[in-house]
């Protein structure tokens, strides 16, 4: 799995790329920038995303279980993070804002 180095940060600007339908739902462009407190993990990034854009609650993670919806995948630094633990630290380039965290529809073509 991901071998990228990780680091703890207290506050960082994280970049998140959304699929087209969620951009229109949230009225945002391709990428949003989020202030994330503490370590950048999938959970902390998605918590920050949903806090800033409440209309996205339930569209990426289940409302109750917080599990990833089955037809979505998460990518970071060109690696599939869909099946990583939600509290695993994200790669350093994502945590520093150099690279975006990608939320992608599971079926890319027709």
């Amino acid at each position: 799995m991901n071998q990228a180095t990780t680091r703890a940060v207290t506050r960082a600007t994280i970049r998140v790329e959304l699929p087209a339908h969620l951009r229109t739902l949230a009225h945002v462009g391709c990428e949003v920038r989020l202030e994330v407190e503490g370590q950048a993990t999938q959970r902390s990034v998605l918590d920050a995303l949903e806090a800033s854009y409440p209309m996205l609650r339930g569209t990426i993670r289940d409302h109750v279980t917080h599990e990833r919806r089955p037809f979505l995948r998460f990518f970071a630094c060109q690696e599939d993070w869909s099946h990583e633990l939600p509290d695993a630290p994200l790669p350093d380039p994502v945590a520093s804002g150099a690279e975006p965290f990608l939320i992608v529809g599971a079926i890319a073509g027709g």
Binding site: T24, L56, R57, R69
Partner: protein, 392 residues
């Protein structure tokens, strides 16, 4: 002069069609929510500018949209970043969570899967939104897997009316070909405690106490495709319609058979009469003539298109049994579209307008109760639902 607003839900967005009382020239607004499936949108009878829409996606799940200006602008209720002090939590408008048993904390019930085994309830989408007749902030949602939810805060939060799933027959319900959806909600204008709903494939149900308790109302239905054709539940009811002046009289398009009940569903009788086929999805009632009803016969459950490629609405002026085909300016050759269960509606102008949408993306309108038809639009995405508002 009166106006008409037609609300169209399609496979790829919502459209709002407006016209004056002549219903000859139409303005088309949309697509709203482009690219999303819009199963249903409907306006509040208590405030016609308040609209609700069910926006769904296999990828992203359920979203509820609300408009307070007749569909010009939309919002996700509670989608604001910070909830008002003491208000509902933000971002709950798409949260549909089934009740669990109060005694055990476990799922309330299971239902029958296609193979006859028991299967847990799994929320998929909202099929139908039915705003209250009196309160713009109260709206009912019929969902798949079948259950009834209600919001009393304008769609910000939803609570299940779990007496429906919990009354005992749930383990016998099973999905129809389109899923196990609660697709029909009919509110009794004379009795706010009485609601009718229908589920594929479970049947019709009624509450007389505002949704606390429910009972099946399927006596008289016969369905040869289930093990016991006269079973209490298991019937694939496609749609139910009522005329507001006679809330005890119900009309039903079942999988096969057109039915009517004169006692609020306690007993049904078949009124298919001379229809060329009694399979179909839609059924509706004339705005001013409670014995005038409309269906669109579909060839069969395996061939979901009109017989012979001829798109024909059938009208009965006798409450069923005697039917006449309505064909003027409807395609009478090479037409192989379907008309889905929520895709017909009527306006309440003096000359009753009738509207329906097809899986081929056409929305047809008749300004004279079905005698003559014309397409409002021809090339929308496949139409899932059609509702009409008659505005002052």
């Amino acid at each position: 002069m009166s106006k008409v607003r037609v609300l169209v839900g399609t496979r790829k967005g919502a459209f709002v069609l407006t016209s004056d009382g002549k219903r000859e020239k139409w303005d088309v607004s949309g697509p709203h929510f482009a690219g999303w499936e819009i199963y249903h949108l409907k306006g509040s009878p208590a405030d016609p500018n308040r609209l609700y829409a069910s926006q769904t996606s296999g990828w992203f799940g359920q979203v509820i949209q609300r408009s307070s200006d007749g569909g010009k602008t939309w919002e996700t209720p509670g989608g604001e970043k910070m909830p008002a002090p003491g208000g509902m939590p933000a971002g709950e408008s798409n949260k549909f969570v089934y009740d669990t048993s109060a005694a055990t904390g476990k799922p309330l019930t299971t239902h029958q899967w296609y193979d006859g085994t028991q299967h847990p309830w799994e929320f998929k989408r909202v099929w139908h939104l039915e705003p209250s007749l009196t309160d713009p902030d109260t709206v009912y949602a019929g969902v798949e897997d079948a259950a009834l939810f209600r919001s009393t805060d304008g769609g910000k939060s939803w609570q299940e009316l779990s007496g429906l799933r919990g009354h005992g027959t749930g383990p016998k319900w099973q999905p129809g070909a389109g899923g196990m959806g609660l697709h029909t909600i009919v509110l009794d204008p004379s009795n706010p405690q009485r609601i009718f709903i229908a589920i594929s494939a479970a049947g019709a149900f009624r509450t007389d106490d505002g949704g606390k308790t429910w009972k099946p109302i399927n006596r008289g239905l016969k369905s040869q495709y289930i093990p016991d054709p006269n079973a209490e539940v298991g019937h694939c009811v496609h749609h139910v319609a009522m005329h507001r002046s006679r809330p005890g009289v119900l009309f039903m398009q079942k999988h096969w058979d057109v039915m009517r009940s004169d006692n609020a569903g306690d007993l049904w009788q078949e009124v298919s009469g001379n229809l060329p086929t009694d399979f179909g999805f839609v059924i509706d009632v004339h705005a001013h003539e409670p014995e005038t009803i409309y269906v669109v016969p579909i060839k069969s459950d395996s061939e979901h298109f009109p017989i012979g490629g001829q798109l024909r609405v059938y009208r009965s002026r006798t409450g069923g049994n005697e039917w006449e085909p309505l064909t003027k300016r409807l395609p009478q050759s090479n037409c192989y579209v379907n008309v889905l269960r929520d895709a017909m509606a009527v306006d309440s102008l003096d000359s009753c307008g009738v509207y329906f949408g097809t899986t081929g993306g056409q929305v047809y309108a008749s300004a004279d109760a079905g005698d003559n038809w014309a397409p409002i639009v021809r090339d929308l995405p496949g139409v899932l639902s059609v509702e009409v508002q008659t505005l002052p």
